[in-house]
């Protein structure tokens, strides 16, 4: 308080100096924001410009090469989405269940505090640590080896706290009146949650899931030692998930786009690293931005539908 108190007093005597300081500060704040905006503009422009030149249909569909140039990222794109799907089918029910517990059943006691401490701890762990845990437990102890399933489980550990938080926020945003009305009509707690609270929270849940998906889609550090760094030759005609060459087999190794960018830069021998990395980064960022745009659009649309007003609270679920 000392410094500020002094500046207020002296400032009163030197009105001009005070004004000038204020103007300089204002300019500095504008400048800082301009710098941040320019950094983003540069990043997006750079990725778009270089990426656009590298991407064509062949690049997006053909498999990667290990030694010579001309490889594509087809399997990597498939693996990224498939891994996201696998991980989300585990994470979403678990996260929603835990969120239902926290928002509907839990009383403010030690057990609840423990759950919060756990989600907080999990959410702050470096993803490489989660990856190493996955290597130990999901790859080695279970005997799966480097596999999409192990990768999906590691992503689940990484994403679960986010999912719990997002779902809990969504459930808590449902007005108490709805619950009370449902209970007053004779529904029990389970019916109220299942038929009233979750449907009412659905828009926010979906938005939260899409935003979380965007983050999972770009994850790499947790995957290099769980899902592996290669995609085996895949037989696209084989859709039997229990067959090794089938793309749908969750026990085969798989390499996501993000891992691919890292791998070709750190240990690959292909001559056209630049082109492949530019193209992959472009696709990656495009998908992530798309997820964000869809989530925002959905939220604004549903908000309008439910309230009849324009969205003012676009970011509450993010």
């Amino acid at each position: 308080m000392g410094a500020s108190g002094r500046s207020v007093r002296t400032g009163f005597k030197n009105k001009n100096r005070r004004k000038m300081q204020d103007q300089v500060a204002t300019a500095a704040f504008w400048l800082a924001s301009a710098i941040v905006t320019m950094i983003l503009a540069f990043l997006v422009g750079y990725i778009a410009l270089h990426g656009w030149r590298s991407v064509d249909i062949k690049f997006l569909t053909s498999p990667a090469k290990n030694l010579e140039g001309g490889g594509g990222i087809g399997p990597q794109i498939f693996d990224s989405f498939y891994l996201l799907f696998l991980s989300m089918t585990i994470t979403v029910p678990l996260g929603l269940g835990a969120a239902v517990f926290l928002s509907e059943y839990a009383k403010p006691n030690r057990f609840t505090a423990l759950i919060r401490l756990c989600t907080e701890t999990l959410s702050s762990l470096p993803s490489i640590v989660v990856g190493l845990f996955g290597l130990l437990v999901f790859v080695t102890y279970t005997g799966f080896g480097y596999s999409l399933l192990a990768g999906a489980l590691a992503l689940t550990v990484l994403n679960l706290p986010v999912m719990v938080r997002v779902s809990e926020d969504a459930l808590r945003s449902v007005p108490m009146d709805l619950r009370e009305a449902s209970l007053a009509l004779g529904a029990n707690l389970y019916q109220t949650i299942y038929r009233v609270v979750i449907p009412a929270a659905l828009p926010r849940l979906v938005t939260g899931i899409i935003l979380a998906s965007g983050r999972v889609f770009g994850e790499a550090a947790a995957l290099i030692y769980t899902a592996g760094m290669s995609s085996p030759p895949l037989n696209w005609a084989n859709m039997n998930p229990f067959n090794y060459t089938s793309p749908l087999n969750p026990l085969r190794p798989g390499e996501t786009l993000a891992v691919h960018i890292w791998k070709i830069n750190s240990e690959s021998l292909i001559p056209d690293v630049r082109r492949v990395a530019d193209g992959s980064a472009f696709v990656l960022v495009l998908v992530v931005v798309l997820f964000n745009v869809v989530a925002r659009w959905l939220q604004a649309r549903i908000y309008r539908k439910m309230t009849g007003t324009r969205a003012v609270d676009l970011h509450a679920a993010s």
């Binding site: 500020s4 710098i35 950094i39 269940g97 239902v100 756990c118 989600t119 964000n292």
Partner: protein
């Protein structure tokens, strides 16, 4: 009869929710347990002294017995990790806080329309993409204008600063926006200029939130692996300046974990490094908890 069935369902639903919560708890504790168990085997099974590990400046787990045997000192990694994450906070801190003040106070309209989407997209860009741009743009720039190889602690710090910028900005902005209007209005009523209000009232009142942003930003930088690995050069010696290449805990783990045999001293030393990383991350959360309890404005 019907009542009976419903209450069974009720109990089932409750039990299911409890199971999900249990999974969260079990996952957390098993992670802590397994990493700790693997991490301490260096000291329990191989008899390496803890002090030697924490203060050793040489990392050569494969050194031959005639040269003095394996040396596993974690100091170069710690120095690297703290230098790059500290650098990132030094750059992203002022920039992020200034942007947050802009969004919350100077121009909320522009803040909401332009800066918030900007920050959200910055969060969304995957870390490997930051690493790739750092590698293809920043590294050559550093090499050309500042000398050295370009692969350096400085490059890593710069890449990380962009990565943690959104964390610092959005948390600071939230902290500033959550302050009650009375505070600000009282200060303006006393005749303060906006700068005086910001510096004398708003920033001190929002300090815990701003500090939380800085600490979480630092934690994120500390734990980032691949983006740093791509630009830091990965050299296992003590760095001499910001322009020399280095290594961090995370990049060391990324580089070596796949090349070691389970059960060897080398492998076990890497798990100890993972444990150190884990403990620092836990330390950062502890710090956040402390900060959010102390000081700042209370209604």
């Amino acid at each position: 009869m019907k009542r009976q069935r419903l209450s069974t369902k009720e109990a089932m639903a409750r039990f299911l929710a409890l199971c999900c919560v249990t999974v969260v708890i079990v996952a957390t504790f098993s992670l802590l347990f397994f990493i700790t168990r693997k991490g301490i085997s260096t000291f329990t099974d191989f008899g390496v002294r803890l002090l030697e590990f924490l203060t050793g400046r040489v990392w050569r787990p494969d050194r031959l017995p005639e040269e003095g045997g394996p040396a596993i000192g974690v100091v170069p990694f710690l120095v690297g990790s703290f230098t790059v994450s500290g650098l990132a906070v030094l750059i992203a801190g002022p920039l992020g806080i200034a942007t947050a003040i802009f969004m919350a106070e100077v121009s909320p309209v522009w803040g909401e329309k332009i800066m918030r989407p900007v920050v959200e997209i910055l969060v969304g860009i995957p870390s490997v993409v930051y690493g790739w741009i750092g590698l293809s743009v920043l590294v050559p720039l550093v090499r050309q204008y500042l000398g050295g190889l370009g692969f350096s602690l400085l490059s890593a710090g710069l890449v990380l600063s962009v990565m943690i910028l959104p964390t610092v900005t959005s948390l600071s902005c939230d902290a500033l926006k959550s302050l009650p209007r009375d505070l600000k209005e009282a200060a303006y009523a006393l005749g303060c200029t906006r700068w005086q209000v910001i510096r004398g009232v708003l920033v001190p009142a929002a300090l815990p939130g701003i500090l939380t942003g800085l600490i979480l930003g630092m934690a994120r930088a500390f734990g980032e692996a691949l983006a740093v690995q791509m630009v830091i050069g990965n050299v296992y010696s003590m760095p001499r300046s910001l322009l020399s290449p280095g290594i961090t805990l995370t990049t060391g783990l990324t580089m070596e974990m796949g090349n070691t045999i389970d059960g060897s001293l080398w492998n076990s030393a890497l798990w100890s490094m993972a444990l150190v990383l884990l403990l620092f991350s836990l330390g950062f959360i502890g710090l956040v908890r402390l900060v959010s309890r102390a000081g700042g404005y209370r209604t």
